[in-house]
Symmetry: C2
Subunit: 348 residues, 2 copies
């Protein structure tokens, strides 16, 4: 319509038309990314370009790859994809931080491993605890209490505990470009979900305030609960040490089917634990976007995975094999170093 109005001015004011036409030509020649300011922390480049093209293609009704609003589902891994996962998953820090309170309730644990090591405060020794010991700590700190008690404790922790490097609340260590991406997708009718190997109940405590994602859109590793009654007859749910969903690897597409029931059109991860989610997403019809965050910025955040050839760590790993598969299958790798102008909101 605008174009026609401009055309109608031609005969009277050729000068204005020239200006308008020139602007139009320039706009057409500019990369798409430069025309869109929904992702200001992203540098122009293939990653930003892939996101914008995907959104434009799937939301344009005249596009053969148009996706009806109800089917616009985007899933995000959390640790290492939406916020910092190094040197230790935040939820593991939470569990370690909870140990003194647990031991106070059950003093007999003070002399038993792995609780003894945790109480010593020796972070290096804690980081070396074998998986079996870690699971004992998770079990002691994440189960056996009511859902409400757990929620209150986790909430208090997220509002007070700070990381050792930036001295900030963990919920402030989210990646600004990914926050922009979440908002950009939502502004275009996408329902954004977290699909995390972390605890579903844990992430749900802060997902709305931190990411604008409501608890019912958080899929995570989930333990069962047991319905029971207080002495006064009031019913409550107890968190049980019974794993219902291990939301890693193949557990991610399985969890997506269980909790959402639709195949995502876009999926974002950063490690081998997200491999199957990306593969499952791309296996759908039409336009599908799969992206992997590569931690290659030792200065502003961390560098690990194929970027630095680091050995396997306890946290999710971006192996060389995953990198090669991404190249082969058209999964877009996001370089934190090269694709992101800013990493954290607090940088500015």
């Amino acid at each position: 319509m605008l174009r026609w109005r401009h055309h109608s001015k031609v005969n009277r004011r050729g000068f204005i038309l020239s200006g308008v036409a020139l602007f139009g030509l320039l706009a057409a020649a500019l990369p798409l990314a430069a025309q869109d300011d929904s992702l200001p922390s992203w540098k122009d480049g293939p990653a930003k370009q892939a996101i914008i093209e995907f959104v434009q293609t799937t939301t344009d009704q005249s596009s053969p790859k148009f996706v009806p609003p109800a089917e616009r589902i985007a899933t995000f891994d959390q640790d290492g994809t939406l916020w910092v996962e190094h040197p230790m998953y935040s939820q593991v820090v939470y569990c370690l931080d909870r140990v003194p309170a647990i031991v106070k309730e059950k003093p007999e644990l003070a002399k038993v491993e792995p609780f003894k090591t945790v109480l010593s405060g020796d972070r290096e020794a804690m980081a070396k605890l074998p998986m079996d010991d870690l699971l004992k700590i998770l079990k002691a700190t994440l189960t056996g209490m009511s859902v409400e008690t757990f929620q209150a404790e986790a909430k208090k922790w997220t509002e007070t505990a700070k990381d050792t490097r930036w001295k900030r609340l963990y919920t402030k260590l989210t990646y600004l470009p990914m926050q922009e991406l979440l908002m950009y997708l939502r502004a275009n009718g996408y329902k954004t979900y977290i699909v995390t190997g972390g605890g579903q109940d844990f992430v749900r405590v802060y997902s709305q305030g931190t990411y604008g994602i409501p608890p019912e859109q958080v899929v995570g590793s989930a333990a069962g609960t047991k319905y029971g009654y207080e002495k006064n007859g009031k019913p409550f749910l107890t968190k049980e040490p019974k794993l219902l969903l291990n939301d890693n690897d193949a557990g991610k597409p399985e969890g997506i089917h269980l909790m959402i029931g639709r195949r995502p059109h876009a999926a974002f991860g950063n490690s081998t634990g997200d491999r199957q989610m990306l593969e499952y997403t791309k296996a759908g019809d039409g336009a599908r976007l799969a992206m992997l965050v590569l931690h290659d910025d030792a200065k502003r955040e961390y560098a690990y995975g194929p970027a630095e050839g680091l050995p396997d760590t306890k946290v999710g790993t971006f192996t060389q094999a995953l990198y090669d598969e991404a190249q082969k299958k058209g999964w877009v790798v996001i370089s934190m170093k090269n694709d992101w102008k800013h990493i954290f909101a607090f940088e500015e």
Copy 2:
């Protein structure tokens, strides 16, 4: 504001004021229900009144029981609450209807019980099959295929199979007053969920078209899936005979916590299988609504439960104990006979 405008007219036109004031007095004296036409198939009475008062109280920002939009969750049982469950759950009919196709794939089943009985077509004998045999049929017809294959088969069935009494598609046997209630709650910012003992994957196939409820808002009994690959490398999910969630009784609040993560503000059921969901809902703070549909209309639908003192049937039962508990705890009983002007949309 309007009132002030009317007041300003007083001096000039006392006559108009009288009319306006009279109307205001009348409106205040009339029951709330009479002022609201969102529930036209509901007769004025305590059930309709309870719904409207609940919605007005929880959506009025000046009310001490105001509920923020994000927390407006309403959960509905399906069978017997949203649609007909007698004489047999629709999903059980689906499974029985699928048996011939299953036997065609595995001819050795033709001579084995319970498949032999099902193939005989003797509905009375089928209705008498013990639970163990029924489970064998569910396992054979609901698991072992890909999620997509199951969805395609179930979709075809819901679009073609008709019940024996009304000779209509099962999806047309929904209760019109409950459809109005779903819409009324959604119009007031409530997110409506189905929380069913039926199969989650089954109900998700038709929930959007039948109830306006998207698949991700269906919580049901759920089996696990297994991620695997076709020969060409394409990934797919197989439905496994491994029960993750038995969404009945205590399984309903447990399933709500797993899949939604919030306590509902309103819950609707019709049988002992919904008891804990209603109890859990009412145990929350502020305004909470719990309602039970009583099947007491033998003419227009069916009569069973305390209404008729019928013996236990295979489908959910509304026992006398449940009725007494509802009275005691302020759960509102909906009489299909007395509270509903119409039961089905096709009546009119």
